[in-house]
């Protein structure tokens, strides 16, 4: 059941929220005097949110449900016998899934682009830069989700923690609106989190609204978070293992 919930929530939110927001913002820009909201025309909104959609699709991570389930059901025990940290099979599984997801995803983006008239940048460097940020962002997200899953050693509510973190990730990352649309205090908080650099920044690169310098800056910050998450994950893992008694033991 917990695994089903994962599917439901992932589908529901990462799937359509950005597209719903895209349509609302496009209509808002259309209705606004001058046809723009904060310098975004309907086509630019379409480009931004389609990019957000692609980026968030590439960052779908369900590992916390798998870990939670494995710990609860005692399935972690056989994994512990292997001479390999259990994180790696999960990581490889997630990476492989991206390749399966890519083809239908780009087909859909192509259709949506035709329908909405979305505009993307013509600067070639933006694409590898966005890809690099997405790779870093996905790895960071994977690590924090993995750590959240490990909380199942202590609590039964890991999946709800995961949902709360998702909300912060979506709101501060720029899934509801570009970061500059947020109130100042929210922007100030967002800058101290990894979220805007992994979600909003790649999307702004793809729509030609960010510079190479910003991309490098974002990549450096994400790399820092990545190292931090890695050590937090390691620490929680060691603490948790000492509490783990398999099922029935």
């Amino acid at each position: 059941m917990a695994e089903y919930r994962a599917e439901i929530i992932i589908w529901m939110f990462s799937g359509t929220l950005s597209l719903v927001m895209m349509l609302v913002w496009m209509a808002q820009a259309d209705a606004a005097p001058g046809g723009q909201v904060r310098g975004y025309s309907p086509e630019e909104f379409a480009g931004y949110f389609l990019s957000i959609w692609v980026v968030s699709q590439l960052m779908v991570v369900w590992v916390s449900w798998e870990i939670d389930y494995a710990i609860r059901q005692g399935q972690l025990s056989p994994q512990l016998l292997r001479p390999l940290d259990p994180i790696w099979p999960h990581f490889i599984g997630h990476v492989t899934e991206r390749f399966v997801r890519a083809l239908p995803m780009f087909a859909l983006v192509f259709v949506f682009t035709l329908l909405t008239g979305a505009k993307f940048t013509t600067q070639w460097w933006a694409y590898p830069a966005a890809f690099g940020l997405v790779t870093l962002g996905f790895t960071a997200r994977f690590l924090w989700e993995y750590t959240l899953g490990l909380l199942a050693f202590w609590t039964e509510n890991t999946t709800s923690f995961q949902e709360v973190v998702w909300l912060i990730y979506a709101a501060l990352g720029g899934m509801l609106a570009p970061l500059t649309f947020l109130p100042d205090w929210a922007q100030a908080i967002a800058r101290w989190t990894p979220f805007p650099y992994m979600l909003g920044l790649p999307a702004q690169l793809l729509t030609g609204k960010a510079t190479p310098d910003q991309a490098l800056h974002g990549a450096a910050i994400l790399a820092g978070w990545l190292v931090l998450f890695w050590f937090v994950r390691l620490w929680v893992w060691r603490r948790g293992l000492s509490r783990y008694g398999a099922v029935g033991a």
């Binding site: 089903y4 439901i8 359509t16 929220l17 349509l23 909201v37 039964e156 949902e163 709360v164």
Partner: protein, 265 residues
């Protein structure tokens, strides 16, 4: 009449049984509360962002308070889904797969009534309270007449019927496809558009949300009725859609049960 009274009595028994079963797992309450928080937070933050931009006075011709009314209907409805609909509908596919549907069909009460009312997820009850609270807050800053309130309540009842019918129809496909998870997810995805008034969307999308998937009837129409902005034809359309859907779903359900061959055969 006696049939209806019997149905209501059975529903009361079912709800009592499922509540006492759930009270044993009180630790889940915290988890459910966080789920509620996320649902509410996302909706309010999204609406606040759209309306908070400089120079923006409304969304699709709705002011903040008015749009809040739609969001309140959205939260109320997703609470209704979480409390009353999903706990039941998600079990249909499972029952068909394992053959447990046999027992349901053998019982001397209507099988559709049984599968639709057997379970309640009371842990998500706060969703309903938040939806209702937000509705009162939004309405307190607007002028709402008694007739508007009556119309809104009646039309919201037909919204709930529409939501129930869509979920039942999607879940009934389990008799043929076994796995229905994706179908209901897809509906949830489209339904997430209902947190905004339907006029907030570009015209082709608005038409889609009214005619193809009747999302607009679920939240926008009751809100319009509350505000007294509904014409008579619009007011009649929603119950009509609900009635047609209900009859169609009933027919579909009976057809599905008719083709059911249990798990082992």
């Amino acid at each position: 009449m006696r049939g209806l009274r019997r149905a209501l009595r059975l529903m009361r028994v079912f709800i009592g049984a499922t509540i006492s079963a759930q009270l044993e797992y009180r630790a889940n309450f915290l988890g459910a509360l966080m789920g509620t928080l996320v649902a509410t937070g996302t909706s309010l933050f999204a609406l606040g962002l759209v309306l908070g931009q400089p120079g923006t006075t409304g969304v699709g011709g709705w002011t903040l308070r008015e749009a809040l009314l739609v969001t309140a209907f959205y939260l109320l409805t997703s609470g209704f889904i979480a409390v009353f609909i999903r706990p039941n509908m998600s079990k249909i596919a499972e029952a068909v797969r394992t053959g447990n549907m046999d027992f349901t069909l053998l019982k001397p009460i209507d099988a559709q009534l049984n599968v639709s009312t057997r379970n309640v997820d009371i842990l998500r009850f706060p969703d309903l309270l938040i939806g209702a609270g937000l509705m009162v807050y939004a309405a307190s800053g607007l002028t709402i007449t008694a007739s508007g309130m009556l119309g809104g309540t009646l039309l919201y009842l037909s919204s709930l019927v529409i939501v129930y019918c869509i979920w039942l129809a999607l879940s009934t496909t389990a008799f043929w496809f076994v796995k229905t998870q994706n179908a209901t997810e897809l509906f949830q995805g489209v339904f997430s558009a209902a947190r905004f008034p339907s006029t907030a969307f570009p015209a082709p999308v608005r038409a889609f949300l009214t005619v193809v998937v009747p999302i607009a009837f679920i939240t926008t129409v009751p809100a319009q009725a509350l505000l007294g902005r509904l014409t008579l034809t619009q007011a009649l359309a929603s119950p009509l859609v609900a009635a047609v859907l209900f009859a169609a779903t009933r027919w579909f359900w009976l057809k599905a049960v008719g083709s059911y061959t249990s798990a082992s055969s």
